[in-house]
């Protein structure tokens, strides 16, 4: 029940915010903060209470209630280390997101209601072990995303919102098709993932069902060449929503690809593994190279998401415990770091300077005008590059180690990707924050005195995220132990043994 409390608190918060009378509309942010903190509290409590002793079951906190008898659907939630790590990530992102949207004054009730609905849906996906239930939560996220971007977004918002929604819906249409077909082929008794994974689906079915299902999920994870929604959508979105999109929504794709597509159709995975690995490597390289050429700072961060998610997908198909654990850790790490980058660019910088053009930002002496923003962006960049001491280092290092075991040849392009990542991050950091000033009097109109100082909620949110990435970077064991343990479960064991040993 403690798992269910996470999404219940979010949905309850959304309902409360909607019911708030007009006069108290400003109070909605407090309710949202409380709901986000409650969700985080429950997730953290579940994480702390996860029994890791040798004999303990892999899946804990199970709740199973029959839901739709005609189709054998049940409300089935439980968690292993992977679920719990991602739920903690969701909690952190939710709190930071609320803190960074503290200044939303335009229709705050609707904003926070949609925001919390997304959070609830994301929590739900990470704990569902019934395919139908998982899909329900997965889809709940789609519509609020559209409205948040279309109504509260910035650049080209209606276009970006629709593009993002169309891609998400196309992805979930693929998922829906395979879901219905799985029901038909399995004889239609159950949607229980634990039951379905024990069935041996015919190889000819897996051969088409796996790529379709995996692709459906991977669209949301921003796999090349279906990543195009991500930069546009992230840029158009309001800050908190960019943070959510990059932080957790993209993880829905990679998580579900692992949890559903890969465990359900191991034979199909075996057939298509190389294709996925190559696409993931292209995502890494392509994301990094395109980020290198951007003029808009937010687009740099947007493409860096494609790059980082490429690492996640590559780690997933290595199919060895090292690479897989790295992939899950990278989901966490990128969730935090991506969120932090978007927070700086969208809220701290753009809300004050009203420009995201790297060259223009370079003339503003941001390191002096907004020292805290510069500091945060520097930390986030360093973490994003994968420097030791931050979570990004551990995760990318483990993924590359795993890749070396499974696809030695792909290590070369992936390694180049790492180098380009460093390049584009340093370029963006240096040109927008620490650009050498031209001689001559500074432009008075954009002088730093004009900028509103960084507010307390922003500082708090940034500190929260920095602490998370730093903490995990210095003591990765706290997340890695439960993650590694989860790949030992019967669900995954089969996958790793049978496919990877071939």
């Amino acid at each position: 029940m403690i798992l269910n409390a996470t999404f219940l608190s979010a949905f309850l918060g959304a309902a409360l915010v909607l019911l708030l009378p007009e006069r108290f509309a400003r109070a909605s942010r407090w309710i949202a903060l409380l709901a986000a903190m409650a969700g985080f509290g429950f997730a953290l409590k579940a994480f702390a209470g996860y029994d890791q002793s040798a004999g303990a079951p892999h899946f804990q906190y199970a709740t199973q209630i029959p839901w739709v008898r005609a189709l054998g659907i049940s409300f089935f939630t439980q968690a292993d280390g992977i679920s719990l790590v991602l739920m903690v990530l969701t909690g952190i992102t939710a709190i930071a997101g609320v803190l960074f949207s503290w200044n939303v004054t335009q229709r705050p009730r609707a904003f926070f209601a949609f925001f919390l609905t997304i959070i609830g849906g994301v929590y739900g996906v990470f704990q569902s072990f019934d395919l139908f239930l998982l899909f329900v939560f997965y889809e709940i996220v789609i519509v609020p995303k559209y409205f948040l971007i279309a109504a509260w977004g910035s650049t080209n918002r209606e276009y970006g919102a629709m593009k993002l929604t169309v891609f998400s819906v196309a992805g979930s249409a693929l998922v829906l098709l395979v879901l219905a077909a799985t029901y038909a082929v399995s004889g239609g008794q159950s949607f229980d993932l634990m039951v379905l994974t024990t069935l041996a689906f015919p190889a000819s079915f897996q051969a088409w069902a796996f790529p379709v299902l995996f692709l459906g999920f991977a669209v949301l994870a921003g796999i090349w060449p279906f990543h195009v929604w991500a930069p546009t959508g992230h840029v158009a979105a309001p800050t908190a929503v960019s943070m959510l999109l990059a932080g957790v929504v993209m993880k829905l794709g990679s998580y579900s690809a692992l949890r559903v597509a890969m465990t359900l159709f191991p034979q199909g995975l075996d057939q298509w593994r190389m294709v996925v690995a190559v696409l993931a490597t292209i995502s890494i390289l392509y994301g990094a190279l395109v980020a290198l050429a951007q003029k808009d700072l937010k687009f740099v961060v947007g493409y860096s998401s494609v790059n980082h998610m490429g690492f996640v997908l590559l780690g997933l198909v290595t199919l060895n415990t090292v690479g897989l654990s790295g992939a899950v850790l990278q989901m966490f790490s990128h969730g935090i770091i991506g969120g932090l980058l978007f927070a700086v660019v969208g809220r701290m910088i753009y809300d004050r300077t009203h420009t995201r053009d790297i060259a223009t930002l370079g003339t503003m002496e941001l390191s002096k005008a907004l020292p805290f923003a510069a500091f945060t962006f520097t930390v986030a960049s360093v973490a994003s590059m994968g420097l030791p001491g931050f979570s990004g280092f551990i995760s990318e290092f483990t993924i590359l180690t795993g890749t070396w075991k499974s696809f030695p040849i792909l290590l070369i392009p992936a390694g180049i990707g790492v180098v380009v990542t460093v390049a584009f991050t340093l370029r963006a950091l240096q040109r927008s924050f620490f650009a050498p000033q031209e001689s001559g009097p500074p432009d008075r109109s954009t002088h730093h005195e004009d900028f509103e100082p960084i507010t307390f909620p922003e500082r708090l949110g940034a500190c929260l995220l920095i602490l998370a990435t730093l903490g995990v970077g210095l003591y990765p064991k706290v997340l890695l132990d439960p993650i590694v343990r989860s790949f030992d479960s019967p669900l995954m064991h089969q996958l790793i043994r049978e496919v990877a040993s071939k």
Partner: protein, 496 residues
């Protein structure tokens, strides 16, 4: 045969006819403007009593060679039709119909009687008569706005196309009778395989399906739908889109499963065999594609709903191609949910139309500000139509698609995958145009800041939205009674 027994079986219909006559009588008194609320209340009371008597005689019967049939499944459908009609009456309370309001209500009641008869018969002649009673009442209702030329045009189109398809239907039914020598559906089920694939029988089936294709607005018999939905008084359009569809799909399912059960054929990819299945599959595919694509180009919300209705007919025809008990249950669930959703959406359109004077997309600009409750209800209805969880429309669609695949599931590649794949792809397209409407509701700047006074029908719309949400969260509430009724019905067929 005791007439009292017959009266008991047809009590709801009889009560509605009596109500209609009473309302007409009130209308004769002259001061119809003042009596409007009274007439509405009287109609609602009649509907309420009809729904009540539906359940106080819980005996099942099949009398007069199947002309009048009563069973749990029929009762669920009769209740649904009554509920939808009464919601139509409530929506009409403030409708633009100024003159002859008594006749307007009476026509709604007569149409309802036709639908109720349709839901309670298994005899070809009776089916035709009931269909005509419904259709003719609806033709008149469509053309009821005398001052609007669009309404007259819509009525004429509806009537002309409807008349032709009634002729098709009658011709088809007469062929079926000519081959089999019976008008009773259950007797048709028992025909020999040789008779079932008799070319004349197949011709009869084609013509009958053409007639029904018109009733449910499936491509290529859909041409009337956009004009009728747009031109008719909005409550009438709501009735055409909901009640008439529920009755139409129920009787179509019965006809196909029982009447033509022996000549199903096959619609699996590259294994087509003559019968009604391939026909239905093609009609479904065309409706889904054309309905969804044409809806993309609409600027009038009622027209958009009409094309979406065509697409939804396609989804339900797809569900019927499963030809299994579970598949039909899924269609029944879906058609009821669809009708409740669509009548709710029309309710919102009706309110907006009255405030802003039109149903163009621009008229919905900033509805969130003027009427936040209605805006949220519209969100629920359209998102449910788009098939997004956790709303009932999603579960209904998923259930239909899954059962259709399961029915054709042989080994690894279910034969109906082509059609279900098409439907799911097009369903993804549909979210686009629903979002366009919702963008006008939630994102666009309001045209005026003046808040709408709450409309009288708002509570009904809110209840409908809640029902859609709750049925999505707990589908078993409707699904389990339906499943029980369907399996009871199948058992009564005494299939070998």
């Amino acid at each position: 045969m005791i007439y009292l027994h017959l009266l008991k079986l047809l009590a709801p219909e009889a009560i509605l006819v009596v109500t209609a006559i009473l309302v007409l009588g009130l209308g004769l008194s002259g001061s119809s403007g003042r009596l409007r609320p009274l007439m509405t209340r009287l109609t609602l009371l009649g509907g309420l009593i009809a729904a009540w008597v539906l359940f106080i005689y819980p005996e099942d019967a099949c009398v007069l060679n199947g002309m009048v049939v009563l069973d749990p499944l029929g009762r669920i459908f009769k209740l649904a039709i009554l509920v939808l009609s009464m919601i139509t009456v409530i929506l009409s309370a403030a409708s633009p119909v100024r003159r002859h309001f008594a006749e307007y209500l009476a026509l709604i009641l007569f149409a309802t009687v036709g639908m109720l008869l349709l839901a309670g018969t298994e005899e070809l002649l009776m089916i035709f008569i009931a269909l005509e009673l419904t259709s003719i009442s609806l033709y008149v209702l469509t053309a009821y706005l005398k001052e609007s030329s669009a309404s007259a045009e819509a009525g004429l189109k509806y009537f002309l196309i409807g008349g032709v398809s009634a002729a098709f239907l009658l011709f088809g039914l007469s062929l079926v009778y000519g081959v089999e020598g019976t008008t009773n559906l259950r007797a048709l089920l028992a025909i020999s395989p040789a008779q079932a694939t008799d070319p004349l029988m197949l011709a009869g089936i084609v013509l009958t399906l053409a007639g029904f294709g018109f009733k449910v607005a499936a491509v290529p018999f859909h041409l009337w739908a956009p004009d009728v939905y747009e031109g008719a008084p909005t409550p009438t359009a709501a009735l055409v889109a909901s009640g008439s569809k529920v009755a139409g799909f129920f009787i179509l399912a019965k006809m196909l499963a029982i009447g033509f059960g022996a000549s199903a054929g096959m619609a699996a990819w590259s294994q087509f065999r003559p019968g009604w299945l391939p026909l239905l599959a093609v009609m479904a595919a065309l409706s889904i594609v054309l309905g969804n694509l044409a809806a993309l180009a609409q600027s009038n919300v009622k027209r958009l709903l009409a094309y979406s209705a065509i697409a939804h007919s396609g989804y339900m025809l797809l569900g019927l191609t499963s030809a299994t008990e579970a598949g039909f249950t899924a269609v029944f669930f879906y058609v009821i949910v669809y009708a409740l959703t669509t009548i709710g959406a029309f309710g919102v359109v009706e309110v907006v139309e009255r405030r802003r004077g039109g149903s163009q997309l621009q008229d919905f600009d900033g509805l969130y500000k003027a009427a936040p409750v209605l805006a949220i209800c519209m969100l629920v209805f359209l998102i449910s139509l788009a098939g997004i969880p956790p709303l009932a429309g999603f579960f209904g669609k998923f259930y239909m698609f899954a059962e259709t695949l399961a029915a054709s599931g042989e080994g690894s590649n279910p034969g109906m995958l082509w059609l279900v794949g098409l439907a799911i792809a097009m369903n993804a397209v549909s979210l686009y145009y629903y979002l366009i409407v919702l963008k006008h509701v939630f994102v666009a700047k309001p045209v005026d800041d003046e808040p709408c006074k709450s409309a009288a029908c708002t509570p009904v719309i809110v209840v409908l939205a809640l029902v859609i949400l709750l049925l999505g969260l707990f589908p078993d509430a409707l699904l389990e009674p339906l499943r029980a009724a369907v399996s009871f019905y199948t058992a009564s067929l005494n299939l070998p």
